[in-house]
């Protein structure tokens, strides 16, 4: 700490250059913060997955429905402590297809299956008691300015009511939310009551989209999944049951390797940054060779001078990296507000902070070591005589 003023003076010896260099570092880390948040959002399904939940879909394609009558039969499978189901409604709101997902569910079963969703007990009661009831995620409620108690007109692209009309109306009786930002994206849904939906729809009666099972012990999950599938084998509606995490990973894989794309972009960004700051750093040390020689004359050891140069690189990267990451963390709430639930919430996760810290140190060493070695080898006489 004693040397901090000296480091500071050395760093800001040429103000314009250092500020410009720090700004490029800030930008690089800002991009890291933003882009890694996108990767985290794509992978959040897998990260927030509950190891005690299984997902059952139709074996040959996840868009095929399953009979609602499977509920009792799945409940009888040993090791299964809870079962819920959901059906895809195919919502169209204000003429926008899939503005948000709408699931037809059994209110108590479904919300018991997802304890990470917060819902006021009164809202849950109202949802269970109101046949035409619906609950919506907090972010959707805010985005569309809904109020609890209002009518919710939603069309379906798939399911007509008994009279052939595709326009449905529900009563918004509650709001769901989640603390954890990684889970909050999963609450960007509207849940409706399957009892009403299944009775009122024209086609597909008695069917549902998928089942969710809760098991006591994650270690036995695979065996239980196999047992569920075995019970429906060779029936017209065979099933595929897998741990929630596996399903989420599979779904993310369908979208493609977002992580690899982001990594490639960031590689280009940091390669450029390395050149840029490395060049500035080398230039700065070259200009200060006589000063370093004077430091050595004053009794600074070779090791200390080397450490000083390295510390300067670390300070430069540390300053830029923390400003950049702070900027990313400050910017993301505004990004979330402008996408308003069309996209899962973006946030700077702990993992990204660790990656940023690691990268900052790595780049600091990469750009600091060559000039540091040069400063170490410096012979006082040559340096004082040779320069200029």
């Amino acid at each position: 700490m004693r040397y901090l003023p000296l480091l500071w003076a050395g760093l800001f010896r040429r103000k314009a250059r250092t500020i410009l260099t720090i700004l490029s570092v800030v930008i690089s880390f800002l991009l890291l913060g933003l882009l890694d948040a996108v990767t985290v959002a794509f992978e959040s399904g897998a990260d927030s997955a509950d190891a005690k939940r299984l997902l059952t879909t139709a074996r040959y394609s996840i868009i095929e429905p399953l009979p609602l009558s499977y509920l009792r039969r799945i409940e009888q499978v040993p090791g299964v402590t809870g079962v819920a189901h959901a059906d895809w409604f195919g919502a169209k709101y204000q003429n926008e297809s899939n503005a948000f997902p709408v699931f037809a569910v059994d209110p108590r079963r479904y919300l018991a299956m997802y304890p990470e969703f917060d819902i006021a007990p009164a809202h849950l009661e109202a949802f269970a008691a109101t046949r035409t009831g619906a609950v919506a995620g907090r972010r959707l409620v805010d985005r569309f300015g809904w109020r609890v108690g209002q009518k919710l007109p939603i069309s379906s692209e798939i399911h007509a009511r008994a009279d052939g009309d595709l326009n449905w109306e529900f009563d918004l009786v509650g709001v769901i939310d989640a603390e954890d930002p990684a889970v909050r994206g999963n609450t960007d849904v509207v849940l409706i009551n399957v009892a009403y939906f299944d009775e009122a729809r024209l086609t597909g009666k008695g069917k549902t989209g998928w089942y969710i099972e809760r098991v006591v012990d994650p270690a036995g999950a695979r065996a239980i999944a196999a047992e569920i599938d075995r019970r429906f084998a060779n029936s017209p509606d065979e099933t595929k049951t897998q741990p929630e995490k596996e399903f989420a990973i599979g779904f993310a894989k369908q979208i493609g390797d977002v992580g690899a794309l982001v990594t490639r972009i960031l590689a280009a960004v940091f390669f450029t940054l390395l050149l840029l700051t490395g060049n500035a750093m080398a230039q700065s040390i070259r200009e200060r060779i006589p000063e370093l020689a004077i430091l050595k004359t004053l009794g600074f050891s070779d090791g200390k001078v080397t450490a000083l140069v390295l510390a300067e690189a670390l300070l430069l990267m540390g300053l830029g990296a923390s400003l950049g990451m702070a900027a990313a963390a400050g910017l993301l709430p505004f990004v979330n507000e402008s996408t308003g639930g069309r996209f899962p919430p973006l946030f700077v996760s702990g993992r990204t902070w660790v990656v940023a810290a690691g990268l900052a140190v790595a780049v600091a060493f990469a750009i600091g070591l060559p000039p540091a070695v040069r400063a170490r080898r410096l012979r006082i006489v040559d340096a004082l005589a040779g320069h200029r």
């Binding site: 899939n98 493609g256 450029t272 940054l273 840029l276």
Partner: protein, 397 residues
């Protein structure tokens, strides 16, 4: 014209001294190449995706879906409706007088990508006998067409490339049916190349369907008048609750969300990277000027004006930027153009395979960005160079 001569002279001096500043100059070139490379490749991805979807549409064709549905997957057209739709006046007919209309059903089948094991939603389309006459851009590039009434499929070129086990002669099992791949087809790089096609009737029984998803047909009169007449005829029939769309309109809707998302990502990254590169360029040009302070002051002392100095510094910055733009564009072209990948299109919930398209327009856009960064990085140092009082600059030496 004296100043023009001055500009040329100073610029030449600058450029001749470039090799002495190779390190810093290279940083500018590479920095800008990075920006342009990333921008062009990400936009090439968005462009490739958009092209794949929109080129499937011809204004002379219509797709008929259930009213209220925006995609085939959520649509349903029962057999009777399909029969009615095929006989509606306003559709083109072939030499034998049969309507050019193909009722089609669409199911999703699970196939892993090559080298992976996770299943993907690959679209499987059961087509009517008229499908090849309606979509006359479809060409078999390997093998033959499927035989009607038999469990045979033909596979789109892109699907065959992306997903495992789709070569001619291989057998694929879906549900309790086994299918043989008998051909690979191309259709001008459009979205159908991501699909698997089979005979509609065979697919309907194999997948236990009772109806179709859509009817695609060719208009007898592709003008607006012909289209409106067809639309009106469909609307008049009380047995039909069908939405008629021209194909380009339908496919543009499906491309919308994802290509916009990719484009927003591309521009956001590029704007930030460009800012970073501009800071780098500023640094470089400032230090270039600092190292030539005496030389510039000497020139001014012997009568060169301030303006030619500004222009010459700008020319150097722009030249470096241009070089960076060319390198970045070339890298994007070499590495990305034609590279194919597949993703899940949220609008259709099915896989679309497409190729990056590095178009001349994108390359030009990349160069413009490079030059803009050059201007941003060169302007202030140039003005600084012209402003330093001559006496002070000379004394500093």
């Amino acid at each position: 014209m004296a100043w023009l001569n001055q500009v040329v002279q100073i610029t030449l001096v600058n450029l001749r001294s470039l090799p002495q500043r190779l390190g810093t100059s290279l940083v500018v070139v590479i920095g800008i190449a990075g920006v342009v490379g990333v921008l062009v490749s990400v936009l090439a991805m968005a462009e490739g995706f958009r092209h794949t979807l929109t080129s499937a549409g011809r204004p002379s064709r219509v797709i008929m879906l259930r009213a209220g549905s925006d995609s085939e997957l959520s649509s349903g057209v029962v057999r009777d409706q399909a029969t009615l739709l095929a006989s509606i006046p306003g559709l083109a007919r072939d030499a034998e007088g049969r309507p050019l209309a193909s009722p089609e059903l669409m199911v999703m089948v699970d196939l892993p990508r090559k080298g992976e094991s996770h299943p993907n939603n690959v679209p499987f389309r059961g087509v009517g006998p008229a499908a090849f006459a309606v979509r006359d851009e479809v060409r078999i590039v390997e093998g033959r067409r499927f035989t009607r009434g038999v469990r045979e499929v033909i596979v789109g070129r892109q699907a065959a490339q992306q997903f495992a086990g789709l070569g001619v002669g291989s057998r694929i099992g879906f549900r309790d049916s086994d299918w043989t791949v008998v051909g690979i087809f191309a259709s001008g790089g459009d979205v159908h190349e991501s699909e698997i096609w089979a005979d509609g009737d065979v697919a309907m029984s194999a997948f236990r369907r009772t109806g179709y998803q859509s009817v695609t047909a060719t208009l007898a009169d592709p003008s607006d008048g012909g289209f409106s007449a067809l639309k009106a005829a469909v609307a008049r029939d009380p047995r039909l609750s069908i939405n008629v769309l021209r194909e380009p309109e339908y496919y543009a809707k499906q491309a919308g969300i994802l290509s916009n998302l990719i484009r927003v990502l591309g521009y956001t990254v590029a704007v930030f990277m460009a800012l970073g590169a501009a800071f780098g360029a500023l640094n470089c040009m400032y230090s270039a000027i600092a190292s030539r302070q005496v030389e510039i002051a000497t020139l001014r002392a012997i009568g060169f004006g301030g303006f030619p100095v500004v222009v010459s510094v700008m020319i150097e910055a722009l030249l470096l930027a241009f070089l960076g733009g060319v390198v970045g564009g070339a890298l994007a072209y070499l590495y990305c153009d034609g590279a194919s990948l597949s993703t899940l299109n949220f609008s259709t919930f099915s896989q679309v395979a497409f190729a990056f398209r590095v178009t001349p327009g994108l390359l030009a856009q990349g160069l413009l960005w490079a030059l803009a960064i050059g201007v941003a990085g060169g302007l202030f140092p140039a003005i600084r160079a012209a402003r330093i009082p001559v006496a002070m600059a000379l004394r500093a030496a």
